[in-house]
Symmetry: C2
Subunit: 240 residues, 2 copies
């Protein structure tokens, strides 16, 4: 299999992802939230681009839904929860549908329409998502959501770790950017050290979100691999 | 000054380069050729996107022009020279105009129209181009030509070295991708070792171009900084 990386939601080119296996990564924090919520018994996650669309979707059936997400890394007015994975505990999410909107992650998911399959990855499920990509036996593009349309070091090093997990169990031909991400990971197995150089890390630390960051950098604590289902008017992310 | 990087000629976004200082890098080999030729007395370099346009430009005044460039890293039929910087010696280029067309570098130069100033950089003039960027005291975008529209490790590590040269003499606020390139350079001061992982390196090695690669990885052997002048119908690159 070939492995390539797209560096941000704003850099997705349709021809690069067409018919590929895509893994979406937004470790700080959208995909870490999605994986955590589904692992804790959430029925499904519906990523929505706009705040108003998210509110409209839940307004007539408030009991069934949780409304989560962020703008500028902060909870949105009228939403139940922010973009902290630590909020999405079993007692909150079990048997509910999470409607979420985040700046970068939701955009990356919607932008990846056209891929053969879209998986959701993060450090917390890296081995599992790598194994799933191997089983699918198709060329892989790891789409980094990035931050505000820019390359983000946190997603990049996580891509490198997923590639490391793939290479332990399969042959893969790496593009130059995939080889660079893999190199970065192999030089920085202390992930937090590397991340301390990242802009988005500093933003979250200034918001007092150190515990979120620590959680999002834990590797392989969850073994589910969420995948996206596109219908004519909606994307749903499910546990399997 | 802020420092950012664009990872390939296909990833240039006009709003990112508008009014910025841009340094174009295509170390293997277009910008290494341009810098070498101008340093050896060439009057000016005219980068042209199409082979036919290049041939038409020189046909009525063959004595004045040298025709150089590559497709798939190989000399073009009817051209005088390929894309090897070692060919552009003083006896060949002195007082001539070099018309060149290369796959990635020429595209990056034409794609950067809209920048405040466009400089030409490579390892061979890295310190000089870094110093020029500092003097210009404007936000900087390093445009990596890349290879076939893709991120290329060779241009990326060179960006990291130019950033290292800037940081030695000025404060710069690095974007995440600029910080990553800088990190890559600081971990790999043996440039050739890192480049041996790159796809384009392997292509050139298979073509027997090891001496070209070694030359292009020499640092700071030339102190000129070519810059681009756009006229209504042409780009010209001059020594100062």
């Amino acid at each position: 299999m070939k492995v390539d990386i797209i560096i941000s939601a704003n850099d997705i080119k349709k021809e690069k992802i067409k018919d590929k296996t895509v893994i979406i990564i937004d470790i700080l924090r959208a995909t870490s939230v999605i994986i955590t919520a589904l692992n804790n018994g959430c029925n499904e996650v519906i990523p929505v681009v706009n705040v108003e669309d998210a509110k409209n979707l839940v307004k007539n059936n408030r009991d069934k839904y949780i409304l989560g997400g962020e703008r500028n890394a902060v909870k949105i007015d009228g939403f139940d929860f922010s973009n902290s994975p630590l909020e999405y505990t079993e007692d909150i999410v079990k048997n509910k549908t999470l409607v979420m909107t985040t700046t970068n992650g939701t955009k990356a998911i919607h932008g990846s329409l056209g891929a053969k399959i879209i998986l959701i990855g993060a450090f917390i499920n890296a081995k599992a998502v790598a194994q799933k990509a191997i089983e699918l036996n198709n060329d892989l593009v790891i789409v980094n959501a990035g931050t505000r349309g820019e390359f983000s070091m946190d997603d990049f090093i996580c891509s490198g770790y997923i590639i490391e997990c793939i290479l332990k169990n399969a042959y893969a031909e790496l593009s130059d950017i995939a080889a660079t991400a893999h190199y970065i990971y192999t030089q920085n197995t202390n992930i937090l050290d590397f991340l301390s150089k990242a802009k988005h890390y500093k933003v979250l630390m200034n918001l007092g979100l150190e515990e979120d960051i620590k959680y999002c950098c834990k590797t392989d604590i969850i073994d589910i691999v969420p995948s996206c289902k596109f219908t004519s008017h909606q994307v749903k992310i499910e546990k399997k």
